[in-house]
């Protein structure tokens, strides 16, 4: 429950909604509680009217008596209507304030959560699955909201209704009240247990549903294997088993849900019958009137919901507390990569511009998850305006190395310097602002092509977008699309080919006109000719921009000022293209192989 205390600040922030809301809740409850009293008055007045009416029956006064009764009863009816209008008005206002406030708090919580997510570093995302984070920012927040809004609203109303009704009832007849209230605790308790059982059983059902889904997912993904080994029948039987498990769980839940309404109706009905029974006896002894019986029947009807709500509220609070704990885990996480402050930078007397010299000094890094030594004693100096190429097998540490430049990762041993200054002494914004990064896995947003490219520089004009697209050799493709740069990428629009996506990702980096450009295997999905064109465009900036290029293709790296070959995190070869070919090592054999490949390609 402690986790929920944090929400107090939010209540305070929306006090202008909560305070009137709670007053409305009380007012609405009070109005509705008066209705039964009026009903009693009305019913008890009937015998009086009857007696008077009988007394004057057949006399000229008869019509006056009739008119008097007519008007009095109409007034009773009108009062009942007016009271429920009042109660309705306040309950309308109650929902419009409290529930609305809960939506405001939900909004604030979610904004804060997203803001926090943006601050958290790469390592946090390695530890938390995407699906899990999404669940927290959607359904966990929803659970908390239900606690903030509905739970508080129901509680307030319930307390007012129950206290008022019970006091009035005791004032009328303590005996009858005691008997009438007997089923109420059972009602609250059974609602609590039923609600809890519904929750656990529907969680179980949900789990089985996921299991069923992943069974289908797997079977259909591995359909070739199933078919090749003629195991379809067997798999279908396994699926039957999953389905029947699902049916079983559904029925377990159905059992509780089927019991819920009858239990509710029976307990409420029992209360009513007790009123008739005990009340009837009391009427016979003259302790109460028949009007009181009608009054009690309405009180029971009025009280059932609030009493049942108390059962719900407890489970709501339990869920909300669990959800809030999960949310707090994110709120309390500290970004592992912190920016240096401008203050430090100014003290060091540096300008905000980065020229682009990158120096790795004995850099080492161990992956926190796998414990694999990804980099070990890497020494490289890349003067500003020059090009560094990195080659090596999968898993040799190439990506780890380039991820350190925009500080997606921080060095563990040794140091990384930008323009001769430790990277951690630069403001993070300045470092990332001077880098154009093209990651290995292309990631585009479902947005227009133009917006995806200008993602790299918000204020860019359409000319700049066209220029960047042209440098990435994407312009011709985009102009072929019916909607041009306004074409939607992804689910809602056209599906770009792998190569087109990759080039869009390159354009996004180029539009920033960065002093450092990083291409992490960024040309893998384009053909050799396109690669040549793009590299040609990049070459126009040679000398003005530091380029770090990771590639498997010799054609992409051969013109670099220096080439390094990584193997298990260490540099095993370094030099220019010619030097490395002459060396006859890994690089040379890669070179030879790719020449042969080209020959086969050209074979007609």
């Amino acid at each position: 429950m402690h986790s929920l205390w944090r929400l107090n600040a939010y209540y305070w922030r929306y006090k202008h909604l909560f305070i009137p809301g709670l007053i409305c809740a009380v007012a609405s409850a009070v109005f509705s509680i008066i209705v039964p009293m009026v009903v009693r008055q009305a019913i008890d007045s009937i015998p009086r009217f009857v007696t008077t009416y009988r007394a004057f029956e057949g006399t000229p006064v008869e019509s006056y008596v009739y008119a008097d009764a007519f008007v009095s009863l109409m007034i009773f009816g009108a009062i009942i209507l007016a009271l429920s209008l009042g109660s309705g008005l306040f309950s309308f206002l109650m929902r419009q304030t409290i529930v609305v406030a809960s939506r405001h708090i939900e909004f604030d919580l979610r904004n804060r959560l997203y803001d926090q997510l943006q601050d958290l570093s790469h390592d946090f995302y390695l530890q938390h699955a995407t699906g899990d984070l999404i669940t927290r920012s959607t359904s966990d927040i929803e659970h908390v909201r239900r606690y903030i809004g509905p739970a508080i609203m129901y509680t307030t109303r319930a307390i007012v209704v129950i206290i008022t009704a019970v006091s009035v009832m005791f004032w009328i007849s303590p005996t009858l009240t005691w008997f009438t209230l007997i089923p109420m605790p059972f009602l609250a308790i059974s609602v609590f247990f039923v609600a809890r059982m519904v929750h656990t059983r529907s969680d179980e059902l949900q789990k089985q549903y996921s299991s069923l889904t992943s069974r289908v997912q797997e079977a259909l993904s591995g359909i070739r294997v199933l078919k090749a080994y003629a195991r379809e029948e067997n798999e279908a039987e396994a699926f039957d088993e999953e389905s029947s498990q699902y049916r079983h769980r559904s029925l377990r839940l159905a059992m509780v849900e089927a019991a819920w309404r009858p239990v509710f109706v029976t307990l409420v009905g029992a209360s009513t019958l007790i009123v008739v029974w005990v009340g009837g006896s009391l009427v016979m002894t003259g302790e109460i009137t028949i009007g009181n019986i009608a009054e009690y029947i309405i009180y029971v009807a009025l009280m059932t919901w609030p009493v049942a709500a108390m059962g719900f509220v407890i489970t709501m609070i339990q869920r909300a507390a669990a959800s809030m704990t999960r949310l707090n885990e994110i709120f309390d996480a500290v970004p592992s990569i912190q920016s240096a402050t401008d203050h430090m930078l100014l003290e060091a007397g540096l300008s905000h511009e980065i020229e682009g010299r990158i120096t790795f000094k004995g850099v080492g890094f161990t992956h926190p998850n796998s414990g694999v030594r990804a980099l070990d004693a890497v020494d490289v100096d890349v003067p500003s305006g020059s090009t560094l190429a990195i080659v090596g097998r999968t898993g040799s540490g190439k990506t780890t190395m380039v991820e350190m430049i925009p500080r997606l990762l921080d060095v563990e041993d040794g140091s990384l310097e930008i323009d001769g200054k430790d990277i951690r002494e630069w403001p993070l914004e300045t470092v990332r602002g001077s880098i154009g990064y093209v990651p290995q896995d292309v990631f585009l947003f479902s947005d227009t092509v133009a917006n995806n490219i200008s993602f790299g520089r918000m204020e860019a004009e359409i000319e700049d977008v066209r220029q960047a697209a042209s440098e990435a050799d994407l312009l011709a493709n985009v102009d072929d699309f019916k909607e041009g740069f306004e074409t939607f990428v992804g689910e809602r629009g056209i599906t770009l080919s792998g190569g087109q996506k990759q080039r869009a990702s390159i354009a996004r980096a180029l539009i920033r006109q960065p002093s450092i450009l990083i291409l992490d295997d960024a040309l893998s999905a384009v053909d050799v000719n396109t690669e040549r064109t793009i590299l040609g465009h990049l070459r126009e900036h040679f000398g003005k921009r530091t380029i770090v290029i990771v590639s498997h293709r010799i054609s992409a790296v051969q013109d670099a000022d220096q080439i390094i070959v990584l193997e298990e995190g260490r540099i095993i070869e370094r030099g220019s293209h010619e030097e490395l070919v002459d060396l006859g090592g890994f690089y040379a054999s890669l070179h030879h192989k790719q020449q042969l490949e080209q020959e086969v390609e050209d074979f007609v």
Binding site: F49, Q96, Y125
Partner: protein, 597 residues
Amino acid sequence: MSDSKQQNAGLDSRLLKRIVSYLMPYKGWVALAFVTVMTAAYLGPLIPKLVQVTIDREIVGGDMEGLQRMIGILFAVLAAEGLLSFVNAYLTQWIGQQAIFDLRTKVYRHVQRQSLRFFDTRPIGQLITRVTSDVESLSQVLSAGVVTILGDLFKLIFIAWFMFSLNWELALVTISVMPIMIYATFWFKRKVRDAYRDTRKQVARLNSFLQEHVTGMRIVQLFGREEEEMKRFDGINDDHRQAHIKTIFYFALFWPMVDIVASAALGLVIWYGGISAMVGGVTVGVLIAFIQYARRFFEPIRNLSDQFNTLQSAMAGAERIFGLLDTDMAIPEAEKTEEWKQVQGRIEFRNVWFSYNPETDPEDLDAEWILRDVSFEVNPGESLAIVGATGAGKTTIINLLLRFYEIQNGAILVDGIDITTLPISTLREHIGLVLQDVFLFSGTVKDNVTLRNPDIEDQAIREAADAINAAPFIERLPEGYGQDVRERGMTLSHGQRQLISFLRALVYDPRILVLDEATSSVDTETEEVIQKALETLMAGRTSIAIAHRLSTVQHATQILVMHRGQVRERGSHQELIASDGLYRRLYELQYAEQEAA
């Protein structure tokens, strides 16, 4: 306009009939559900009536014994109503779940028997949706649907009947507020449906923004877009909030409205009933009964409008499911199948032409043929190695032999029998397939080896594992053969997964082995194990291999060099090296390095 509307309505009733047909196997239970729902619908409204009798006769008459007797009856009725509505609620769910089970397994079997061509053109996600959530959307209709609708209708009728039998004038007065109630309910449902549509849209927008930005968070951070994306998120989050606040408005209006209408009915009962009581004819008990009926009347109306909505949304799901069930792209079994008695393992491709488009005209030479006039023979016990660049058609040959696709022209024969005349399962039973990207299912090592075939003995698995030297690594696993490999075998290394797939082929002991060798290099130690395992696997079997290993091609009886769908060269390793053609270049590219190693 009206024409298409009529067509729609016609379609709907056909759909509904088809949905209801899934209840037919349980018609006895459905009948029982009807009986229980009717009885409960009668017993509920009976209680206020009995209360009226009790008040007017026993309480007013001061008959204490009679009161107790009546209360006894009332409790019995109450208990019976509770019990029956429980039985009914559970029974309808039970029927629904049986029908859903039948439908779901039917849809799944239907999907599973489709040919690979079907899977090539449909995203798996879409198929999963059909089997899971689309089927689920029918569950409400199949379970509660019809029975509940009738139950609520009858509840209304019974309540009306009791009211009219007590006092028809007062009944008319009470029911006079009904039109307002019905109008309010349907107005509310319509508004809320529209508002919910908007909220669902906003929830989806919010979710996809989060999904996308959590996945692509590094891009946001790398490009320093935090502030801008925060602004966009704020906007989406705000739209989401506004959409919800709009629905709050309707709910805030609806609930008090229900209360007010019910109170209006109560007020009318007091007024009109009071006067009638005065002139005689209406007793206090009747008044109290009407107070209760006025409240009970509205619940069935609300339920009915709910049912109406679920019925509508189920239709959409039903349409998609039946659309799927009505498409059949399964490879048809021959009407008269041959028997493959003496399995020798001879394979022949005779002038095979194949295109992924089944409509391709066999005479059209310019069409997109994946294989053009491919012919070859492999004798029992011999091995064929297929080499060629990516896209040359190597994998297609394997797919066609297993009859994953139908060819357009030519014939494929095993032991002289055309494969289209064999039962598909017979054909595949005798062919073992080992794919380069090994697909493991979640489950134990043993499950993956046997594919859950209970006929394969543990002893056979152990022997096979020993034969290909896979036993050491499996026994080193904490749980041995019972080790859970998790989804797609992610806990195992590439080489280990490869060995498991060999083991799978070995325990099935096929006459023909089809192999798509892995290109990716594994560490040298495993490489050696795999090499030996392969030799064991191929010994004594007819094999076709898409070869990436030098030893496989060197030992092959025959090598087929494919280029752009055609057989360019064929012969033994020595012959092909000597001829200095495409094979020689491929050899240098792919295998020279291995020779050096």
